[in-house]
Amino acid sequence: MKVVVCVKQTPSTTAVFRVQNGSVRWDDPGGKPNVVNPWDEYAIEEAIRLQEKHGGDAIALTMGSEESKEALKTALAMGCTEAVLVADEAFEGSDTLGTAHVLAAAIRHQQDVQVAVFGKQAIDGDTGQTTIQVAVKLGWTPLTFVSEIKELDPDAGTITVERLLEGGKETVSSRLPVVISVVKEINEPRYPSFMGIRKANRAEIPTLTAADLDLDAGSAGKAASKVDWANVYELPPRDTSVEIIEGDTVEEKVKKLAERLLAEKVI
């Protein structure tokens, strides 16, 4: 069975952002500025588990720049069997729709993919739209917020999953191929291994361009996007002040605190 996992490289959770000449820049003084989107680690883990169970390939796919290969290396080091970078100047300025268009083409390019796994959302863009948009572009069933794959039969072409919804859980069955997005309850992502890191460093990571995917200029990047970043600016610093609540006993302090919070309409 062929499984694709879409992985986004995002700023680390401790990155510090600033706006420079209308674009967002970031750095992480304490470590690496970019990481695999933390939600996508669950997607990678699930893709590897499917591959381990059903054989075939678990292919990690990233649309991004040359630097995003780092994210793909992490996916390989964890156990993905292949990794593909999708990169082209023409893709710059893509909104989620533009991104989805390219990712869908790249998934189709892999041929015979039965399951495409996504994270719940990207911690930077944070829209969670890409998954659905890819499913629509491919014409596959989207199964979002999956917390368990209960059954998957590649030969019969069926899948049953549990979806984690706000009010409860829902069990859904579908025919393959499907696009799924996973929540953190689905698994515990493994650590990469020394052996995996070595393999990843030696692996050839091919790059697919717009031409490879038969995408013309109008269907990707800015031209194909519906969203325009008209003005990017830094948030003005918030005025804050600290007030220490005094009191003789804990009870008294709590009472005063509660009163203040009520007065400020915080609670």
């Binding site: 080091a77 990469p192 291994s193 020394f194 052996m195 890191i197 460093n201």
Partner: protein
């Protein structure tokens, strides 16, 4: 000359650091307090490669270079002395000799099991009630060949991992005449009949790493369990200790780094006489000295590892690195407590435990005195 790690070494370091920060460090106080072994974390180490650091990939190991292996132990030491000691002993003291001297069959039997984490750990049994520094003269555990078997009788002391092991590498006297050619290493399954493992020793620190006296009473193992060559046990042991010392040096650097980080943080937070104590020169000097000595110790450990992985002799370098790093670590941990004042003496703060943990490092795998002896012998060609 290039002091930077390769990309791959850096990636290994990042991986172990991340693993230790989330799986090992948070429970360090608890495993010490409750004197229990951290199987939860160690159970996850096999797939990473931490249980077969220098084991060839063909036997399911990580086959990393000596520097990466040292860094892994350093990072473990930064997280938890007990867990680091167990893993260091498993890799350096026990699997090391199997990798170096084992037959194909012995490697096949033990390495995949132990490196993958499917089995338990391994240990090395040298020390005895009457023999520590002086193994050649002191070892009384006898192994006698009888038909196709070795029959082992004797008592070992201070065996790290004994109760959590699948296999023991036991140093035995195989020639009653004595001398440097009278000892041999024998592989003994820990569940062999006639082995009794004493209760965990009550120790000053490292309570999450069980240490035991072990009694061998007519323990019978197949003759092919001889590891390496008969009569070469002492030489194989001394070589093994050369390797192990890089590990203990690295472990001590990790412990020192952890105590130092705690001290720097505390010095910035704690106020006395109206300002953070980090503003006082007396505190600054302790911090500056610690940072300087840790850097020197780390470089010495890495240098010994580098000598090793480049196929050069490293006995003296490993002894120097172990001697210096373990004594630095003790000083740094001592001062970390000093910087914490009364709180440093409390079990509520990690520096108290780290100080107790690092105290062993100048004793195990050759005391500081023995390191000086080794170094002097090399210099004076004795």
């Amino acid at each position: 000359m290039d002091f930077s790690l390769t990309d791959e070494q850096q990636q290994f370091r990042d991986l172990v650091h991340r693993f230790v920060a989330s799986e090992v460090k948070p429970t360090a106080a608890e495993v010490d307090e409750e004197a229990r072994f951290n199987w939860e974390a160690v159970g996850k180490m096999g797939p990473l490669g931490l249980l077969g650091l220098e084991v060839p990939e063909a036997y399911g190991g990580a086959e990393v270079d000596a520097l990466s292996a040292a860094i892994a132990i350093e990072e473990l030491g930064w997280g938890c002395g007990s867990t680091a000691l167990a893993i260091s002993a498993h890799n350096g003291l026990a699997l090391g000799p199997v990798v170096r001297y084992g037959s194909d069959a012995q490697k096949e039997q033990w390495l995949p099991l132990l490196a993958s984490g499917e089995g338990r750990l391994a240990c090395l049994a040298l020390t005895e009630p009457g023999a520590g520094s002086d193994l050649q003269g002191g070892v009384r555990t006898m192994a006698v060949k009888e038909g196709d078997s070795w029959i082992i009788d004797g008592n070992k002391m201070w065996m790290t991992n004994a109760s959590i092991s699948d296999v023991m590498i036991v140093l035995c006297r195989t020639d009653p005449a004595g001398g440097s050619g009278s000892l041999s290493q024998i592989i003994v399954p820990s569940d062999a009949e006639g082995i009794s493992i004493g209760p965990a020793e009550k120790k000053m620190g490292l309570n999450g790493s069980p240490t035991h006296a072990v009694n061998f009473d007519e323990v019978r193992v197949p003759a092919e369990n001889l590891l390496g060559r008969e009569g070469k046990g002492l030489q194989q042991t001394l070589e093994t200790l050369d390797h192990g010392r890089i590990g203990i040096g690295a472990l001590a650097v990790g412990l020192a780094q952890a105590a130092y980080e705690e001290a720097v943080q505390y010095a910035q937070d704690r106020e006395a006489f109206g300002q953070p104590i980090a503003q006082y020169q007396a505190i600054q000097w302790m911090i500056a000295d610690a940072a300087t000595e840790i850097q020197a110790a780390r470089l010495m450990v890495y240098y010994a590892a580098w000598q090793k992985q480049n196929g050069r002799r490293f006995t003296k370098e490993a002894a120097m690195a172990k001697l210096f790093a373990t004594e630095v670590s003790e000083r740094v941990c001592r001062n970390a407590i000093q910087i914490h004042g009364g709180y440093g003496y409390s079990r509520e703060f990690p520096v108290e435990r780290i100080y107790r943990d690092t105290r062993l490092m100048t004793i195990g795998e050759g005391t500081s005195e023995i390191q000086r002896l080794v170094i002097a012998r090399h210099i004076l060609e004795l």
